[in-house]
Amino acid sequence: MAILEVKHIEKHFGSTKVLNDISFSLEKGQALSIIGSSGSGKTTLLRCLNFLERPDGGVICVNGRVIFDAEDKTTQSDKEIRKKRLHFGLVFQNFNLFPQYTALENVTLARELMAKEHGSESKAAIREEGLTLLKQMGLADRANHYPHQLSGGQQQRVAIARALAMKPDILCFDEPTSALDPELTGEVLRVIRELAKQKTTMIIVTHEMAFARDVADQVIFMDDGVIVEQGDPRQVIEHPAQERTRQFLARYSQEE
């Protein structure tokens, strides 16, 4: 059974339709890449999944359970949403680390607050786990650094650890490397590749075509708020069926 099913998602901003009838599903342990030109609605889609935007239409199911239904107001109260958004994690384009906390504190803060509410875990255990995550990101020696003392690539890796700390079912990345200097993208992509190897369920919006092709089990090409083409990465990126996909990819290879 699919871990995530997205059915007929719609989103308007005023009179402009930004997402139109978006449907796809994702199996546990798989990685999905979303590609598409600027303004096609990729960020908006991730923001809908993380409830930073509320879709105007459609249904989102996780593990076969409806967690959001635009028709059903009971799925939309603040309290419900706060619980349900934890199915998803989000790594932002520009990291959004908390500047007043160290790398480790960034990773553990939300878990500690959660534990305070439910009294489930000890602070020491959370800390231990945070250190393990940072180590996994290759940042063991940076645990006590503040964000401004870290490079962009390191900050983004802390942000990934921070998202993983909440144990999301599905981890979303919104162009995780596009705010980075070219020489720093490699370290972040490597970490995401590693996560894919460990069968982390992921949705990755990216402009790195080679990366999308290699790491993803499935690719979606979006244009103008609709899914134009989806399927096997090699198929979509190397032998696109649709003219719009071909044009997009052609423009891309020119730029590179």
Partner: protein
């Protein structure tokens, strides 16, 4: 003579300090309330508050002191407020408006992404406010607050327009006796007070230096 002058200046300085402290005690929280109003999603309230703040910030504090002291009596036949109270009221309103703009600037300077990062990690609104944004706001408002407090120290001299006897008034009373040095002497008090404030705010800024 020096002792005499010192004592009478100290008396005036007491009024100055009281004015300063009481203005802060009331204007700091009131300013926060006004800043929330000026950021309200309810447009009529927001416009009303912003208009009020614009008027208060755009006109002289001295005028406001005079209006609050004489206004109620001349307009509505109400009894006069005690002089000190009237001056304090004008100061509180005036400074609350300035503080509200400082708070607003501080709050709005925290990037949207900070709230969103907290939200996607499942934090509640109060958790996001207290654990994430508050300290960032405080860090950003320290420098403008420092300037405003120092201005307030000097502004207290204005209360003399309704005959509240602050330190300069005391110093000036010696002019009749042909003595100018007590006036210079008052300056020492101001400089010492503002020197302490400058050191205090410098220390606060340093404390917040560990993050950017």
């Amino acid at each position: 003579m020096l002792l005499d002058v010192t004592l009478s200046l100290l008396e005036g300085f007491g009024v100055t300090v009281q004015m300063f402290v009481l203005t802060l005690v009331f204007a700091l929280p009131l300013g926060l309330i006004i800043s929330f109003g000026s950021m309200s999603r309810f447009a009529p309230l927001r416009r009303l508050i912003q208009g009020f703040v614009w008027i208060v910030r755009g006109s002289p504090l001295m005028l406001q002191v005079l209006i609050i002291f004489y206004g109620p009596g001349l307009l509505f036949g109400l009894p006069l407020l005690p002089r000190f109270t009237a001056a304090l009221l004008a100061f509180v309103i005036n400074y609350a408006c300035y503080f509200s703009e400082i708070y607003r600037g501080g709050i709005q300077s925290v990037p949207r992404g900070q709230y969103e990062a907290g939200q996607v990690l499942g934090m509640t609104k109060p958790q996001i406010f207290f654990k994430i944004t508050l300290l960032q706001v405080i860090k950003r408002i320290i420098p403008p607050m420092g300037n405003e407090w120092i201005t307030l120290v000097k502004d207290t001299a204005l209360v003399r327009v309704i005959s509240v006897y602050e330190i300069i008034w005391m110093g000036e009373s010696y002019i009749k006796k042909g003595m100018i040095w007590p006036l210079f002497y008052t300056m020492v008090f101001y400089l010492a007070f503002n020197g302490i404030l400058t050191i205090f705010f410098g220390w606060l800024e340093k404390k917040m230096d560990y993050f950017k």
